[in-house]
Amino acid sequence: MRVPLSWLREYVDLPAGESGRDVAARLVRAGLEVETVEQIGADLKGPLVVGEVLSIEELPGFKKPIRHCYVNVGDANGTGEPQEIVCGATNFAVGDKVVVVLPGAVLPGPFPIAARQTYGHTSAGMICSARELGMGDDHNGIIVLESHHEPGTDAIELLELVDEVLDIAVTPDRGYCLSMRGVAREAAAAYGLPLADPALLDVPPANSYGYLVKVADPAGCDRFVARTVTGIEPNAQSPIWLQRRLQKSGIRPISLTVDITNYVMLEVGQPLHAYDRERVDGPILVRRAEEGETLTTLDGVERKLSAEDLLICDNSGPIGLAGVMGGASTEILDPAAGPGTTEVVIEAAHFDPVTIARSAKRHKLPSEASKRFERGVDPEAARAAAQRAVDLLVLIAGGTAEAGVTDIAAPHPLRTIAIAAELPDRVAGTEYGRETVTRRLQEIGCTVVGADVLEVTPPSWRPDLTDPYDLAEEVIRLEGYDNVPARMPTVPPGRGLTEAQRFHRRTGVALAGAGYVEVNNYPFVGQAALDALGFEPDDERRRTVTLVNPLNDEEPSLRTSLLPGLLGALRRNVGRGNTDLALFELGTVFLPRAEPKVAPRLPVDRRPTDEELAALDAALPDQPRRVAVALAGERLPSGWWGKGGAASWADAVEAARTVAAAANAELTVRQAQRAPWHPGRCAELAVGDRVVGYAGELHPRVIKALNLPERTSVMELDLDLLFADGGRRVSGPAVSSYPVATQDVALIVDAAVPAAEVEAALRQGAGELLESIRLFDVFTGEQAGEGKKSLAYSLRFRAADRTLTADEASAARESAVAAASARTGAVLRGA
């Protein structure tokens, strides 16, 4: 809602020096969201005056028509002589009153004006168009004023070019503030000043000879006021003040009748519709649409109607989509295009908000009218609004009001709300007292009776006030949130973070400590990403949760793996020249249920049962929490200290070990094959028997498809599964202070034997004297033998209670080697 300050002052006698920003600050504190205060004409400087065109000489020979004019500007130019001006517009004639800007003035832009030579003549100023004056951008021609204005009159004041406009974002509960009347009421309350209510008008009572209207759906339309005005001068223009107020409010002036209906809507908040009476066929009927009916709205679009749409009809069928948009067939005629409308029927009705909201949404037609009806219009303002429109049509359009007054009103029970007088105190945590509560409620238009319990009747324009808490809010808001004290609640002791939450944090800390940088990617994926990862057609990761209205039609699904987003971030970094990368992401993936269900809509007037709540959860996808890493380039940088190391499959696996350590879970690594990994460089990560993830180098095809650096390596694992098996409490090891005995062994095994198995066998064979085992060398080649590999281990033995003898250490070593031989076929190198 755009509120010109000059217009607002008509209803509230605001202090003279109060600026738009001052008023905005007061309204903000009262709960109106004033988004901007626009300074209209702030950079405008005169002289800008009324001129009378004395002569026009058409200058031939140019690409466009050019006129050389003399204009009487009174004494405004200091000489009283006619002003010589060259003009490119043609929509004016000798004798017309126009707006002239003289040298020395500055037009909005800023655009300074000076006398200049052009088209072989002197042009000492300009004849102005509305656009040049910042009045609106829809008129190309220059402004022709009504003939009674005197040459030399200041046009800045005449055209109300300087003003301040408050742009207010009206929240859904404050429909009444979509009007000058509503905003003025808030301003009056904020300043403690009286309100001149524009809806307080003398309205003749309803009678039986008004335009015939029948309401077949009183639930959809509980009020219908109709008035008729005849004898309207079809060519009458809207006066400047009316046009200016519409323009400043963001509405384009169209024709006098339409402008008046728009003006009254802005003023009192009641959307009006004017029908060309000569084009309405018989009585008006308000009813629901029949399936398959159509209506051409005045934007020229033919609309298929739904049985839920509420219609205004005549004998010919639908002539308007109630509360949303009128029909083309009874539209007020544009006098520029033929004979204009001279007789109108004014409709001021009240419609059911939900019906209007749904129609507007269904037909994608959010109009000024529907915006107001959706949020609630004052049903009692209909009569006054219609009267105001009639008065203006009589006053400025030369019309005659017909005596008939149609007013159909469904009975409205008075809403009264019982509120404990101390409820606002209890909600705010402060003491207002009954008198303040009563006074504040009266200020917003409520009738209040009672003492400890107040019986409050809200005003007709506040349909949002329905329960005692709504009233408490009004009191607290008007008393000012700033005046509520600040206090701390007494919070009972909490249990701190859960183990899972601590683990999630630890995971992030561990990976960042290991040199990984966290990224957070959008979870949206498309077919292309899944194809690029080389998932087979029946891969379960292709079953996705899909959105109805994705941001990007190419990515309608939610991720089933963190990898697409993570690899996207990796590529983006590479593209920006960040080549050595170790990224990680913690986040959820979305796995559809085997049989997706629809979530029921549960009641809100009670707690749903546990079964009902379980049905909600059963309709949600599984959303496990995952961690993933991606590496490329150098993991250990090269430098003056020596060579670094390229990121590899091993780093990806190690990242999994890092996370497992954070979970205090024991991770088993096994050789595996799975997309999108390199078939020979893929590790399956398990805890006990449960697979929790995979790590390794990406398949070269995937690297090519996604345009990633060579040897890009990734890991992804399920934190929920890992955590479920982790978290064991560590027993403090007894640390022996006896000397260590170190023994090295080099074993030859088949190349296919996993090192993990060899190590497990060595451990088992070495027995409890083994303190630690370390693989310090691996090689294949001639020395190891065809199809074999050599694994060299360093075994450290130590006893808890004595110094081991060389024989004991050797015996343990031999036992370890024997076990490795038995289980993996290992032979001692050189043996």
Binding site: R21, R29, G31, E33, P172, R174, R358, R426, V427, A428, G429, A472, E473, Y481, D482, V484, A486, M488, P489, V491, Q501, G508, L511, A512, G513, V517, E518, V519, N520, Y522, V545, T546, V548, N549, L551, L558, R572, N573, N578, A582, L583, L586, G587, T588, F590, P596, V598, A599, P600, L602, V604, D605, R607, P608, L616, A619, L620, L636, P637, G639
Partner: protein, 373 residues
Amino acid sequence: MSAPNKSYDPVEVEALKPEVVEQARDAAFAAFAEAGDLAQLKEAKVAHTGDRSPLSLANREIGALPPHAKAAAGKLIGQARGAVNQALARRQAELEAERDARVLVEEAVDVTLPYGRTPRGARHPLTTLAERIEDTFVAMGYEVAEGPEVEAEWLNFDALNLGPDHPARSMQDTFFVQAPDGSADSGVVLRTQTSPVQARTLLDREPPVYVVCPGRVYRTDELDATHTPVFRQVEGLAVDEGITFADLKGTIELLVSKLIGDGLELRWRPSYFPFTEPSAEIDLQCFVCRGESVGNPDKPCRTCSSEGWIELGGCGVVNPRVLVACGVDPNRYSGFAFGLGLERILMNRHNVADMRDMVEGDVRFTLPFGMEI
């Protein structure tokens, strides 16, 4: 060496003459002093304290002396050897110190050499910002509650007093999940706020409830410098006997002082949210210009767009209808709730000009934030 002197003849032994002993001692002193390095000192040590040194040889002569002379001779030699050993030790220490000093100079390095051998990582600042806020509340006794990002419409809207025709439910804001029949009527959405976690918490436990709910939420905005369709919130909820708007104010004031600092004015702006009543938007005085940029085109403020205030988030007293839908007796309990947008707080607290930097994952943006912010 002389044979043991068994008679009582006072035998004159040349080597034990005091002047000879003195001479040998002084010769040792001189040799030590002359030794220019540890190797030379070692030679001098052998020459003057070794088995073949004059004093060692003289010492052996003592045995041949008559008993009455042994004591005096012993004392003479002993003192001389003591003095020599001390001189040796002193010189040894001197020369070692000299050597050490020289070696340490030779071993000096340029400690300003860069050493990026172990690459540093970093956590995302939105993650650590959320943790900081969580920790502030955990310290007060709150607990951290989490919930699903794909959420039932009932929990995201209906339970929070956002009826089916509420404008906030329009297709323009919410991502809807496709139903099995391909329609939009799945009853499932990407949550538009973390408030459903509050509803879940209330459905799950008896009051008193004090929780904060961090998480990712979704709205159908296009990504630009100040909007992202996927963003983070931290919401808080307190439901207890006697909770008031005043408690909300105190809590938010404490959070702001912990998170941003003291001495900044808060503006409580009445607003509208279906799930709270009364509702407020909280604005923080711009900590860069402190409001001085307002109406002052010469001193524009980028942080607050010269408005003087920075939007922190929305809050209010929990609407009793929400309590009813979640099975809490509104006659006994009341509550407050608040929601903060983390992207905006990060932008303001850390001068981030463009929200896209938080989204795109460029390591150059994230690394400086380190492990905590």
